[in-house]
């Protein structure tokens, strides 16, 4: 399993998100590091490992959030599961589907987060949320996806690749 290095990577990503990324603004928004790494790993290793990375990354994000525990866990697990589905392979070469899924996965993840918040009684303005948070985050994750891919492929090559991974 990839969690030997996945746990520390996701832990550092969540902590960096909290202590650094949330304090800066790029192109009017902020990237989602844990979400980006989850999508990338799901593209490389498939739905199962994507869901596991999403679950672990979500727990770390929830621990650094004042909101209800489980919102990030649910959103990132679903994103990891979605990004690793076999139909994603039909979107084109690895780097294209990674970039597309980074953007779509971000929108889906934020949609899950907002949906969960709405169910739990938080006040949500969907239009503003997409315009000011989810949209810019999707764009930034789209742009950062090649860097995340290069970084995680290095780890991927050092662990046993599974059949049905990104090499197909």
């Amino acid at each position: 399993m990839s969690l030997y290095f996945g746990i520390p990577i996701l832990l550092v990503a969540a902590v960096l998100q909290s202590v650094w990324v949330e304090g800066i603004q790029i192109l009017g928004g902020r990237p989602d590091l844990a979400l980006l790494l989850t999508v990338t790993w799901a593209i490389i290793r498939g739905a199962n490992e994507g869901a596991v990375w999403g679950f672990v990354g979500g727990i770390f994000c929830d621990l650094l959030s004042g909101g209800a525990f489980g919102m990030w866990t649910l959103a990132l697990t679903a994103v990891g599961f979605l990004a690793g589905q076999p139909w994603v392979h039909a979107l084109g070469p690895t780097i294209i589907r990674l970039a597309l899924m980074s953007a779509l996965g971000t929108l889906f993840g934020h949609g899950m987060l907002l949906g969960t918040m709405a169910v739990l009684g938080y006040s949500i303005n969907l239009g503003r949320a997409v315009q000011t948070v989810a949209g810019p985050a999707a764009l930034l994750n789209f742009l950062l996806s090649p860097f995340a891919f290069t970084f995680l492929v290095w780890f991927h090559k050092r662990t046993q690749p599974r059949r049905g991974g990104f090499a197909q």
């Binding site: 202590v19 650094w20 596991v52 650094l64 004042g66 919102m71 303005n125 503003r128 949320a129």
Partner: protein, 291 residues
């Protein structure tokens, strides 16, 4: 074959994530959350201090350091003067209010009176917290500080900066961390009043991280630039903590109340050290309910 046998894993993980939410809603997730929080607290502190160190490396010359010290000293002096100014204005407003009450009492000699404060600010211990990080959920406005239940911090405690400005309330605690719901969080509601005119309302956060004062009666006159402070109605907060200043006021005929746009008294992005008020003399609401 092995791959097929693992098809259930994502569904189990999704189920567990849903279970987390259900346990949180049921209020039985605390011990596990505290345990997990103990893992992340030292990492968050470590990364925050590393980032601070890297930030300092950019400022290597002695001149810059000296200038920084001077700026810090001047800022501190400025903060003290602002605080003093606010306090004097509060005394003035309170004095005027007491004069009005006295005048009312003299004009109505047949009435009986007992004077009372809504809530008096008490003396307490103030655990000092250093800012560790911000909320990973971009739709919430929370801060995370490095003091928790081990230092006596509990849910509901007000958190202020050195200038007696309220930044928020403790929403969640783990043994070593506390999660502060900022006053500009969309879910935050603070009983507020204007310092000069004593007009009351509710201070609420917006999705964009701004502040609005709502529920201001339509016949009240509100001037731009007036200071907004906590009113202590409800007994959850001490009275007189600074919240911000009125920037503009709007009133639509279709609405029952006026709404004021408030400029926060502090820059939430620049906070470094905060104080948690662990105790103050609260109004005993239980006694009121019993009566």
């Amino acid at each position: 074959m092995r791959r097929e046998s693992g098809q259930w894993l994502p569904w189990v993980l999704l189920g567990v994530a849903l279970l987390f939410l259900l346990l949180i809603e049921a209020g039985t997730f605390g011990p596990l959350e505290s345990l997990l929080g103990q893992i992340i607290a030292p990492v968050a502190r470590g990364v925050a201090s590393i980032l601070d160190t890297f930030g300092d490396l950019g400022q290597t010359t002695q001149d810059i350091r000296e200038l920084q010290e001077q700026v810090t000293t001047l800022q501190s002096a400025n903060d003290t003067l602002i605080q003093e100014n606010f306090r004097l204005r509060e005394f003035k407003a309170e004095n005027e209010e007491l004069r009005r009450i006295l005048s009312f009492a003299q004009e109505n000699p047949t009435y009986s009176y007992i004077g009372a404060d809504v809530v008096e600010r008490g003396c307490g211990t103030y655990p000092c917290g250093t800012l560790v990080g911000q909320d990973t959920n971009p739709y919430l406005q929370y801060l995370i500080i490095n003091t928790g239940s081990r230092q006596g911090v509990a849910v509901g405690m007000p958190v202020v900066t050195s200038g007696a400005a309220l930044i928020g309330r403790v929403a969640r605690v783990s043994p070593n961390l506390a999660y502060i719901q900022l006053i500009n969080d969309p879910q935050s509601q603070i009983a507020a009043m204007l310092q000069e005119t004593r007009v009351t309302g509710m201070l609420v956060g917006t999705m964009e991280g701004g502040l609005n004062m709502i529920d201001i009666l339509p016949d009240e006159e509100v001037a731009g630039g007036e200071t907004v402070i906590t009113s202590a109605a409800g007994g959850l907060l001490p009275r007189g903590l600074i919240l911000g200043q009125v920037e503009s006021i709007s009133y639509l005929e279709s609405e029952l109340f006026q709404r004021a746009l408030i400029r926060p008294a502090i820059d939430f992005k620049r906070l470094e050290i905060v104080l948690v008020i662990t105790d103050f003399n609260r109004a005993n609401l239980q006694e009121l309910e019993e009566e």
